[in-house]
Symmetry: C2
Subunit: 703 residues, 2 copies
């Protein structure tokens, strides 16, 4: 359906203008100037001719075909115009006009009305408050933007018209072209996911880029993007980080999640590369469009001076890549044409005498080295000539290479011709070595994602959903802890500790024998929150005598300290000295559903921020990767004198928690802190479980 | 002395050339073209005239004055040329020629020889292997670089000639000028610290920038820069991060330090701003040169479209700043001239109708708001006109403002005129809002450093240096632990734990009473390393009965498990349940001396990397800042249900450790892990101390 947006048969401009200071003129100018081969119709009741073409008094008077209408009339007139379009059989209307939802509740109502009108005629609506679309291959340009993008293979979709304008101007100035550009405005009907799908299917597009303020429908976004990124590289500039962390949450998981963690997890699953700023978006996109895949992380740096080589080496490491170790063969080849004072390590420094011939030969040698996955070539401003011959040599040496070659052409004043030569050969150029390295990093992350197996949620058949539901239904809205919370999770086979209440010394001795020494005793009292403060805790009890003595001590200490407290006896647990503690949790994200956390547990989790996030349900690969992204998770394999823990059990618990969170939409937050991961083969135990049940679900269950 | 380098009376070019493909011609062209008003002398025995000026056969034949000689002759001829220069009374020789230390040991020997020759005549030597110097105000240009920098107020010093060339080309292309540029090459004589001093004293320089691969003399660098940054903003691009961590070290402190931590600490102390890449270096420098100081961290963003405003807001937060809250007065003023649909929060979005008049009025309103410390104004590519009128309006509104105003002119193809207008008015422009925000971040960090008190080391008079020396002298090279290490630090008043050896049950009971319950008992045996593995540890002993029973248990368990082991009894310590554990340590940096670390202790310190570094001796402010940079340090003030600890005692121990490390150059590493910081008023205890003594010092002490 949306293909029509980029390849319409017939376009009408409603609100076309002869006045060069009006946007309605800009659209007419761009549309006629774009080389669009279909029918172009201008509509304006006040004039009969614009740019030498006839102008119709209304859309009704426009002859066939007219798939697409571009609407630039005052907001108050848009509804009537859309009725006209609908009656005329227009398939898609782009509403450029502003004055809708962006301006307040009144405009929001008007926006809802125009969406309704479109639906009524089965017509699709782009905007309002947008700048339209461009397809440089059709070609068609419905925008009023002065700069006209060159034909290229990068598609761009934007939730901000101003960013669209800037991007077109950047592209024009920096010498890269676009395949399709779409400005979405307020998204009254057509939203980002659908357009992204259309861009991903476009045969002229190699890389899809986007400016995103948010997604409308998280699960649709995940569906579309999972498929899209298999075919095309996708890079997102997701803004709004600064608004993060404003959600009202009470768990560690919630406090740590922010709203960006869900986007990061969604991008990670779907292979969307997240650019950190507007500049990176297109730095990366150009390399992704023009370079072959990067099969490994080993980069060779080619330079004619030391300093730029060091900048590049720093950039390579900062981008998560490493410097390749050159083979003996490669070094021998380099020796055959470089002076002996050159550096034959990596960076390869050919010295200032390195000219076009040396660049060609060195590139060939490095490309042939099986230990090299990509090349970062540097052109330093030459003291005598200009950098064009070097750029031409790089083109000769790198063109049709099966490995990525990116170029840092250092300088600005004297580089224009060199850049033109590189761009014509589809070789990505950067002014700074660090940016070139960053682009290689993006290529590598893309290749890593492509080599992952397709997403498949890990779901366990042995969970007892009914038992868990019974536990949740038994509770009201708000936090649920203690036994019911523990039992809800143990129904999903996340077990709690072996723990029992002992009422006297003899019972304590009996149970201790059964549990196995050493054990821990804590006074049991509903009235005492901080048991250690009243001398109510005894650790590391190693035999029966110690247990008997400790039972007396903890109960008596507590009685002395709090004569009013009800003392029920003591709870006894095995003392697990060698386990490791982690936290697992989930918090519901408004767009993407349950956001799952794994990390370092204990009360310090928020301070340390040693945590990783994913979306529920998780795949096994995702759970593994989450564990390995944190220090607490890597430590499960053993660390220094800490023995390996039951990492498999921790991953199992994480997957089961994700399944639990996905199964029960009434669970707003769930947190196991700590999850004690015992020695290998001994499992993981949920020591403390808390679940927050949402009010609306309780009401619904009750109603 | 070095002022002569930038303001010479008379310059001779030795190795001048008529051949336009030679560097020796480039120098002649630049020198004569630079407008240099002093005497210019060309020296080349093979010609009599270059560029219409007479050419002398030798430096001896050159008439007075001749302060400076630029030497571009083959490496083999440099020594003889320098003899000639020395005899002729040349004050400074710039050796452009390569073929010295950069090429291997032979070249290194030649380099040492030419440095010797220069010293012999009291002549200073810049280079070899450099591209010389430029002063655009003198004016003089001794380089061969084709691009010629404009006059400006940014000085640049570089340890890479190629970076110098690139920087000149960037500056020329991006429209900012330089005051002085110096390329240092191999630094056979003149090194970075001395030149930085000369740049800082230059009245035409407002900002000093540098490309640094390393410093030659750390303490000299610290001396020079502490003074320099008081007067001028200083920004460094310190490269070589990727080579970090290669030092051979065995402590946590050493493993975590890398070599970059010492540079970071040195820059922090001296107010040098560290740019992350070449682009940032000059992004920041322009704002530092052109903006007034930024008195607080509250930024107002002014835009005509939402998306760019969000990019700017993200950038503001990412740069360590925050969005200002506008006063009611400001909002009322904005309402008086903006449409009601505009956004009056921050970012202020004037909507697309915001033209030159609105920019001027809004800038004035925001500048007048006492809650605004800086303004980030955005110019979106206008759909109809070009951005020049907006830029002119920003100039009108912002010129002579007492607060920083930076501008993001988004776009590239249509912005040239707008940029020229802004630059002419000394207003910093950026293509991307995030870069503009980053520059404000640098302005703010500069202002924060300027408000710090001058560095004053915190030194304690109550330390017993002789006692500590006695302990160190008693040991050989290598690691020193146990009692002697603890005693060396306790001589510096970093106390160890109260701990004693008890030989029988009665003694145990007696000491426990004296220490206060609860206590810990560990079997004492020189043969048993892992005491808990043999049941040799008893924790949390709360009364005499438990102590007596535990003494029997731990000694008997150990005897059973290891019948061969010598059992001396048990060591007893107070069980401190409520202290917090941190690590403090020092490792000797080759350039900057002892590098001091504070952070989260325990065996996980390397995994968590929750650490901060400083240079010894520390000032009290530095120690406080180090503690507050880490979570482990912030937690000392109390965190959730962890009570506040004796933070003052931890800072005291950190300062004393730094003093100890500074006092004993034979100490290669010292580490206290953990330092147990007890409850407020109860001090901090060095639980485990290890000191590594360097071999050469032991030999020296022995020899």
């Amino acid at each position: 359906m949306l293909d029509t947006l980029f390849r319409p048969r017939g376009v009408a401009v409603i609100g076309a203008s002869r006045d060069e200071t009006k946007l309605g003129f800009g659209v007419c100018r761009n549309l006629t100037g774009s080389g669009y081969a279909g029918a172009i119709h201008f509509v304006n009741p006040k004039t009969t001719e614009i740019l030498g073409r006839p102008c119709y008094p209304s859309i009704a008077a426009v002859p066939d075909p007219v798939d697409l209408a571009v609407v630039i009339v005052p907001a108050a007139a848009v509804a009537e115009t859309l009725h006209d379009c609908g009656r005329r059989g227009v398939k898609i209307a782009i509403v450029v006009s502003g004055g809708f939802g962006e301006g307040g509740p009144e405009g929001k109502a008007l926006e809802e009305e125009i969406a309704r009108i479109a639906r009524q005629y089965g017509m699709r609506l782009v905007g309002p408050n947008c700048i339209g679309v461009i397809d440089t291959h059709t070609p068609v340009n419905t925008t009023f933007v002065k700069s006209v993008p060159e034909r290229g293979d990068i598609a761009f979709v934007s939730q901000s018209g101003a960013i669209c304008q800037a991007v077109i101007d950047w592209g024009t100035g920096m010498g890269f072209g676009f395949s399709r550009i779409a400005s979405l405005g307020n998204q009254a009907d057509v939203a980002e996911a659908e357009v992204l799908g259309a861009l991903a299917e476009d045969p002229n597009t190699r890389v899809v880029t986007m400016y995103l303020e948010g997604v409308q429908d998280g699960s649709r976004f995940l569906d579309v993007m999972c498929g899209a990124a298999r075919e095309k590289a996708v890079v997102a500039l997701k803004v709004g980080r600064s608004a993060a962390g404003k959600r009202a949450v009470t768990s560690h998981t919630g406090a740590l999640a922010g709203q960006e963690a869900a986007y990061d997890a969604a991008f990670d699953r779907t292979g969307v590369l997240r650019a950190n700023n507007a500049e990176e978006l297109f730095s990366w996109a150009r390399a992704l469009a023009w370079c072959p895949p990067m099969r490994g992380d080993r980069v060779a740096v080619l330079t004619t001076a030391g300093g730029p080589g060091v900048l590049a080496a720093d950039g390579v490491e900062a981008s998560g890549l490493r410097l390749a170790t050159l083979s003996a063969d490669t070094v021998a080849t380099l020796h055959s044409f470089l002076p002996p004072q050159a550096s034959f390590g990596n960076p390869v420094d050919m010295l200032a005498s390195g000219g076009p011939r040396e660049y060609i030969l060195a590139l060939q040698a490095l490309l042939a080295d099986p230990g090299v996955d990509a090349i970062l070539a540097i052109s330093v401003p030459p003291p005598i000539e200009d950098p064009l011959p070097i750029a031409q040599a790089i083109v000769t040496g790198a063109q049709s290479a099966a490995k990525p070659v990116v170029v840092a052409v250092m300088g600005e004043a004297t580089v224009a011709e060199a850049l033109r030569a590189l761009r014509a050969a589809r070789i990505s150029d950067y002014r700074f070595p660090e940016h070139a390295a960053s682009a290689l990093g993006a290529l590598r992350r893309r290749a890593c994602w492509q080599s992952r197996p397709p997403f498949k949620p890990a779901l366990f058949a042995d969970v007892d959903r009914a038992a868990a539901r019974a536990r949740l239904n038994g509770a009201g809205a708000g936090w649920l802890g203690g036994v019911p919370a523990a039992e809800a999770l143990s129904a999903y086979r996340i077990p709690g500790p072996r723990e029992m209440l002992v009422r006297d010394e003899d019972e304590a001795a009996r149970w201790a024998r059964q549990l196995g020494y050493p054990v821990v005793l804590k006074v049991a009292s509903p009235d005492i929150a901080h048991k250690s403060d009243v001398g109510g805790v005894a650790l590391d009890l190693a035999d029966e005598a110690e247990v008997r003595h400790a039972f007396q001590r903890v109960t008596e200490s507590a009685r002395r300290a709090r004569p009013d407290a009800r003392i029920e006896g003591a709870t006894m647990q095995q003392m697990v000295l060698k386990g490791q503690e982690v936290i697992i949790g989930a918090v519901r994200d408004p767009q993407f559903g349950p956001l799952i956390m794994f990390g370092a547990g204990g009360i310090e989790v928020e301070g340390m921020r040693d945590v990783a996030f994913g979306l529920a349900p998780l795949s096994r690969e995702e759970a593994e990767a989450m564990v390995d992204r944190t220090f607490a998770g890597r430590r499960l394999r053993g660390y220094r004198n800490i023995p390996p823990a039951d990492r498999a059990a921790a991953i199992d618990a994480l997957l089961r928690l994700a399944q639990f969170a996905a199964d029960f939409p009434e669970v707003a937050e769930v947190e196991v802190n700590p999850l004690r991961v015992q020695l290998q083969g001994e499992g993981a135990v949920a020591i403390d479980v808390r679940i927050r049940v949402m009010e609306e679900h309780v009401h619904r269950a009750a109603g």
